[in-house]
């Protein structure tokens, strides 16, 4: 049951990621993968909020955990950073900003709920 809830919610997360990154990337020209950054940061905030909220057992909490799991992505972040040419400043910046932004967003989520 929880396996199905997590997986189906992850599929919804993937679709939201696809639509949001596509929308963002079509509207700016910086060359930075801002779309992936935005989903990863908002998803970290979202999962922080869910995990900071104490009742884990509900289907709603499971669905939210599954959603943010599928909504955020690590592999695309790695590939996009690699594509920016390591060890260039741009690539290191893309890694560092997402890493620290993600940790701060997750921390904010935990703190808002505790």
């Amino acid at each position: 049951m929880s396996f199905v809830a997590l997986s189906v919610a992850g599929a919804f997360g993937a679709v939201f990621r696809y639509v949001i990154t596509g929308w963002i990337q079509s509207r700016h020209r910086s060359g930075y993968p801002v779309g992936t950054f935005v989903v990863n940061i908002t998803g970290s905030l979202g999962l922080g909020l869910v995990l900071g909220f104490d009742s884990f057992e509900s289907v709603g909490a499971l669905a939210a955990i599954g959603f943010f799991g599928g909504f955020t992505t690590f592999s695309t972040w790695m590939i996009e950073s690699l594509g920016m040419g390591l060890p260039s400043l741009r690539a290191v910046l893309n890694l560092a900003v997402s890493l620290f932004g993600g940790v701060l967003a997750a921390l904010a989520g935990f703190m808002l709920m505790s």
Binding site: G10, A14, N40
Partner: protein, 133 residues
């Protein structure tokens, strides 16, 4: 309406991502069930999915570029399956939980293994995809 929001083409691309996302999320959940958290709650299963997924995405993209694969296979495999198999939100919340538990060394190790391993494996995957026929 020349550009309807819900054209059949758009529905097809969303369906490819959704199908891939279902497979990738189910696979990540399965890995999570198979690999329990290590002693002290070190998030081993997240490391496994993120490193394996980075390797496979590098491999897939190199093959896909060479074969000039279609948009549907890119949406299903790269954005859907491998995008969802790996996860960033668990990575960042794990770091916060390790640091909050005063396990700074474990947190630094987790970040180091994930980032250096993810980049190295994505690169190795790409190389293999370019070289191997």
């Amino acid at each position: 309406m020349r550009h309807p929001v819900l054209s059949s083409r758009r529905l097809r691309s969303v369906a490819a991502v959704a199908g891939g996302g279902l497979v990738g999320s189910a696979a990540r959940t399965a890995v999570g069930l198979m690999i329990p958290a290590m002693e002290g709650g070190f998030p081993a299963s997240v490391i496994v999915v993120n490193l394996l997924g980075s390797f496979l995405l590098g491999l897939f993209l190199a093959r896909w570029e060479r074969a000039t694969g279609g948009a549907t296979s890119l949406r299903f495999w790269a954005i859907g399956v491998l995008g969802s198999f790996t996860t960033f939100s668990a990575f960042s919340t794990d770091i916060v939980e390790l640091l909050a538990a005063d396990r700074v060394l474990a947190g630094v190790g987790y970040v180091g293994v994930s980032l250096l391993g993810g980049l190295a494996l994505a690169r190795v995957g790409r190389r293999i995809g370019v070289v191997v026929r």
